[in-house]
Symmetry: C2
Subunit: 531 residues, 2 copies
């Protein structure tokens, strides 16, 4: 019953990437009803923020969700960004793997060109309906319907018409089935709340399916400095990358090509390189470089001392903004913020870790009516990561900390642990971008940030406990002091108040903080220092 | 400083899937040096097994790894399968998203058409070298080099020549850099050991980079019954799926199309359908079906009572084979195997869960020289899953069990928990297929299997403990009995042996198992029942 190779290969075919994701939509984040809804909102909202920031506009984003049937919802996202030119809109929303961001070496939330077209695909396979788009780039406004020719991964654009939209921006509306709105830790509301937390310059209006309206106001009135496109650092690229750059270079010599293509490649460094690899390679045209010459260059890169990569291209949130946002949204009793210096992934990709620990107020998550439990808020380039925590470098780092040593019970106390990783290239663990791959360099850097933050909170809690212990002792001693003063007064005939007064002074000398008013926030001193 | 949409969209481009995975190779399993090496071996070995089984051949697979430099290795996998016809070899190994398996509704290890071409891509971007292939499909044998034109996702085939390979099969050799061989829980050796465990009909020879040679022998001499291609079940498809089938149908009527396309669609069922949706829809040609007619059909599907999907298309391992394999490889003291009945995912996709718990012998993993800790072995369609445990339905189910209740300390005892999920469609959580997405139906089914297995082991351990407690009491009592007999004999002048004899009979009445020989395996009775 043996079968031949010819029989087996009869059905051999090539498939489109749209077809692949249609069959494996869980890989894009479309698994589970609540999760699927968050994925749609996430894709549209992060695209909107990228577009606004690209155009230098303070983002105002309106998210509106209406229930249309049992598990059917209409989701609309409207922004005040630059809009999408009519001739690009089909591909932007109707072809998987297109975009402006793929080849540019700068920080963006989106980087794949999959998300928005993935939403179109998801609408189409659950309701058969196209996405409806309205946009204006400043001149004429238009609207149209977009779907995907799945077998070919090509856009199908219909019903193009003029629109009376007045303001610049993009509005996308889709209808989706098999999804669900829920008020949980992993819901659209929580996603937007965390988005506001990590993006204090964004205003988000949210109209929920239950009729409630929420506004996340801006706590900062300026957009973060735009992320610059930078040249790649010599230590961050592979032989294959070098050859890719060489192939599209029009320089006449490799020496010129190196200086033009890579960061930190001063004339002096080019000379150092020449001394190592020889003029034979440096005088070649870049297109003549073969694997072994490129390998020699990469090896030489590793022998030269370089200035670290330019981290100004990375736009982290910043201590002040994190503070403003956390106070705005969590109103914590105490917050400690850590902004680490830029670090380097794989030798040449700069990244920055920011961490914060908030305590009390609305920190943590409600575990019952009056109980709060700890909560970990993960962000990558300011985008909240709500799912697949188990695969994430941030979770790994949180687990690596012995919180008990710092006297912090993250399971049962109102603690919010906030971590944001910013980079030109975030190594996500999956296409759905729900977790940061557990690269050692990233995990370690987050761990260091969290240790620092944990020490901050430890001091505060320690201070609080010391004050509270001192108060107890003060009260106990003062009880004895009262009795003792009476007895001594009876024996010595000295006035009881006088004795009590000197005893109290004696006690206060040892427990100076014990008599402070309860109304005054405890440990305020540390708070100022920490925040 | 506002930028216009036109400025922003200047760089708008379409990208190839090969380019995407080149930039995000961690999504294919190429993250970490040890992990990357396992990924290469995994892709080639599972393709080889699929090919052999497809052709009806007992698989013999040779894996050979040689260290060529610091982190550079040559990896070869050779099989006795049907081989690959010359005209398909380029696409099969040099284009991402091609294959024979994508559209067929049957169980296979591979299902994406990404893995082997992913290896080619990984070789290319780490060493610049093509993959070298030798194959024979029975007639002429050939060899060639294959790489990928990454920008276009097209194969580049070079150096095609005749080969003197005598036997049918495929041999693939690649050179990879930035990878590492290691002897750990997540290594190539462990991957192959687990592959042998779940595939007792496969013979694997492994030549390790340290010069050691390992043979995993067959414990079963027959290939599993070939998985059949089946028709999809009406309850397992979406409106969109139905329209996809309708579009390629050449039937003249929808009624005929339904009967031809779907499982369990007898003439009686077609009539039931007609009664619900009306002849208007049933008489249309399938190509005329629009979303709303298709939606009516899908709704009608849900109103009709169907026989469950045909699970004969699923090839699970089977109790006997699991037993043979576990005894062959783990030599446990005790093993309990559970094979659950077929269940249905999303209403129409059949799947089968098999679980086993092995105890003692080489079960578990060595935590120190003479300590063993528990180990979870995850499999999907008999392929070992070594990475990304946190995202996996199997891990979720293991965590959901309160092992202490069953008296099983899975952290610190020599326990191997074995779970294999078999299905025509496994919902992997990522492109790298390293974890099964946490679909509720799958997690619950695994949980039930594990509870059953845990009860089995509990009985065995309980029995062992009872026997051991009885022995202790027997010994203690017999000590007293000896002294008592002497004393009584002295007082009554009755023979000491007689008294001792009747006392022992009395004691044995209460602890019947206590005198059994130590040489006899304890709890054998339960073992026979369980295994």
């Amino acid at each position: 019953m043996e079968k031949s190779a010819e029989d087996i290969f009869e059905g051999f075919k090539e498939h489109s990437i749209a077809e692949f994701f249609k069959r494996n939509k869980q890989m894009l984040g479309y698994s589970g009803k609540v999760h699927s809804m968050v994925t749609v909102v996430h894709e549209y909202v992060s695209n909107s923020m990228d577009a606004c920031e690209d155009a230098g506009v303070l983002p105002s984003i309106l998210v509106s969700i209406k229930q249309l049937g049992d598990e059917r919802y209409g989701i609309s996202v409207d922004d005040n960004g630059p809009g999408v030119p009519k001739k690009f809109v089909g591909k932007a929303l109707g072809t998987i793997l297109t975009g402006t961001k793929f080849h540019v070496y700068r920080q963006q939330r989106g980087q794949q060109g999959i998300g928005a077209a993935g939403c179109t695909l998801f609408a189409q396979i659950t309701t058969g309906k196209p996405i409806h788009v309205t946009s204006s780039t400043g001149g004429d406004a238009y609207s149209c319907d977009i779907s995907i020719d799945i077998g070919k991964n090509k856009p199908v654009v219909n019903n193009i018409s003029q629109s009376d939209r007045k303001s610049k921006g993009l509005s996308v509306h889709g209808e989706f089935d098999g999804i669900k709105y829920e008020n949980s830790e992993k819901s659209v509301f929580e996603y937007l709340r965390r988005t506001a937390l990590a993006n204090p310059h964004v205003e988000i209006l949210f109209s929920a399916p239950d009729g409630k309206e929420y506004t996340f106001t801006r706590s900062v009135e300026s957009i973060p400095p735009p992320s610059k496109a930078i040249k790649p650092h010599p230590l961050g690229i592979s032989v294959n990358d070098l050859l890719d750059f060489a192939r599209i270079s029009s320089s006449r010599k490799t020496s010129v090509f190196l200086a033009e293509t890579f960061a930190r490649m001063s004339p002096a460094k080019v000379q150092e390189m020449s001394a190592i690899v020889g003029d034979g390679i440096m005088d070649k045209t870049p297109k003549e470089l073969d694997w072994s010459s490129a390998e020699s260059l990469i090896k030489a890169f590793k022998l030269v001392k370089w200035i670290a990569p330019d981290a100004t291209a990375i736009s982290s949130i910043g201590e002040e903004r994190i503070k403003a946002a956390i106070e705005n949204i969590l109103s914590p009793e105490y917050v400690y913020i850590v902004e680490r210096k830029p670090q380097v992934l794989h030798g040449g990709i700069p990244f920055i870790v920011e961490a914060a620990i908030a305590y009390g107020g609305n920190s943590g998550r409600k575990s019952s009516d009056d109980e709060h439990a700890g909560s970990i808020m993960r962000f990558a380039n300011r985008v909240p990561l709500l799912f697949d925590a188990g695969s994430c470098a941030i979770t790994e780092a949180v687990k690596a900390i012995q919180w008990k040593r710092y006297g912090i019970d993250i399971e049962n106390r109102p603690v919010s642990i906030f971590v944001n990783v910013s980079s030109i290239y975030i190594p996500y663990s999956g296409v759905g971008k729900e977790a940061i791959s557990k690269e050692e360099e990233i995990v370690e850097e987050i761990r260091l940030a969290l240790m620092d933050a944990a020490r901050g909170l430890q001091k505060y809690i320690g201070g609080k406990q010391r004050v509270s212990a001192a108060k107890t002792r003060y009260r106990t001693l003062m009880n004895y002091a009262g009795q003792l003063s009476s007895d001594l007064s009876y024996l010595t005939k000295i006035d009881k108040k006088e004795i009590e007064g000197s005893l109290e002074r004696l006690i206060l000398k040892h427990y100076p903080k014990a008599k402070e008013s309860d109304a005054e926030p405890e440990g305020e001193e540390e708070k100022e220092k920490g925040a």
